[in-house]
Symmetry: C2
Subunit: 230 residues, 2 copies
């Protein structure tokens, strides 16, 4: 009981805000929302907490560090990566395309992919699907094959997103892109120090992002096929 004041005189306790119900899932969703909108740099524990109507330190009841939050985000993204198809080649291609697709919807994924080992349930689940589809392949060959495809996808997606960002940074349309990077390359090539590069960049047909990705993936899958069936 508080002092001698009667209830009638005592004011009500200040409206203690109803504690927002919290969960890892909510936290991760909020973080992803921020990252989708404004990039990975926009994800800070304070901003996430604000979005959730919560004080920052509350989050530490659910995660031990920001790194863990990023891990959870990546695993959440893996939930959207569901390889399908029949036969090892189709499944691997599906894995690659689905990963790329996810990175298109969540560009921050390009910054995180491959940055730490993926051991979350969703990542393992998609791994399981892939490995299961490779059942007709020599057991000892499965890991190297999956690792190779994953490596290619990680690198290809990173490069692609990096280029996309660079283009956007120059002003979003292709005109300004050619107006800023084009001239730089022109001037650089004009020095004559990179003749072979200059020739290829100027004379060769330029594939778009889709074609580039698929071409590289086909190289890899062809190489795999040759070895495992041989």
């Amino acid at each position: 009981m508080v002092s001698g004041m009667l209830v009638w005189e005592r004011p009500e306790p200040p409206d203690r805000p109803v504690p927002a119900p919290l969960s890892r899932e909510r936290i991760v969703r909020a973080a992803i929302q921020l990252a989708d909108a404004d990039g990975l740099d926009a994800v800070s524990l304070r901003k996430v907490a604000t979005v959730l109507g919560v004080r920052p330190m509350r989050l530490y009841g659910y995660i031990a560090s920001k790194e863990e939050l990023l891990d959870l985000m990546v695993d959440a993204a893996h939930a959207e990566i569901r390889p399908v198809g029949e036969g090892w080649r189709e499944v691997l291609r599906s894995l690659a395309e689905a990963t790329r697709h996810a990175a298109h919807e969540h560009e921050w994924l390009a910054d995180l992919l491959g940055g730490r080992p993926q051991l979350g349930p969703h990542a393992l689940a998609s791994g399981e699907t892939v490995v299961a589809a490779l059942g007709d392949i020599d057991v000892d060959a499965v890991m190297p094959v999956v690792a190779a495809v994953n490596a290619y996808v990680i690198g290809a997606v990173r490069r692609e997103i990096a280029e996309r960002r660079a283009e956007r940074a120059t002003g979003m349309d292709e005109k300004r892109w050619q107006a800023s990077l084009g001239p730089y390359l022109e001037r650089t090539f004009a020095t004559g120090r990179f003749p072979a590069l200059a020739t290829v960049v100027r004379d060769a047909a330029h594939l778009d992002a889709d074609e580039t990705f698929r071409t590289g993936l086909d190289f890899l899958l062809d190489g795999i096929e040759a070895r495992i069936s041989g």
Copy 2:
């Protein structure tokens, strides 16, 4: 002239510290030294300035932002990547191995590779070497081939370094590694949700990092060979 005091009475002006001679090269070397020793997170403009015996804001006379410093670091690393060999296959393999080697000496490179377009002089130089060695290949095929190899290397190196760090984080030796991640995977596999994965992880032969990298690279180069010579 300062007031009426004679020289003899007037103290010397305070030892104005000799301004440390500065250059992008020095700045980048200092940053790389920090990153080699303690990782990318240890690279801050303040720390770099301290190493150089300089105040932080001075650096902005040489670079416009920290991102530019990171770009310069990456290009400096590219200076150590000099692909050699005869014929397109040897050169591409050399490019891949040299990049991996650089990332072993500068682990931070794994965090930066592929993160932004590489247009620095050293990156272009190694690109020139590679493209020049692909002279006997159809011009339109050069870019996709180089892009594919680069993508694979970026991803493979990232994965490899990420794993190495995870191992180190558990205590550096293999015993503790098995004592921390092993049990996690064991418990996870024990749930029976990932049977195919469990089988492969448990029963298949495990390649070491060198073998894994080379196997994937061979897949890719084989696939390339099949297409360009066919």
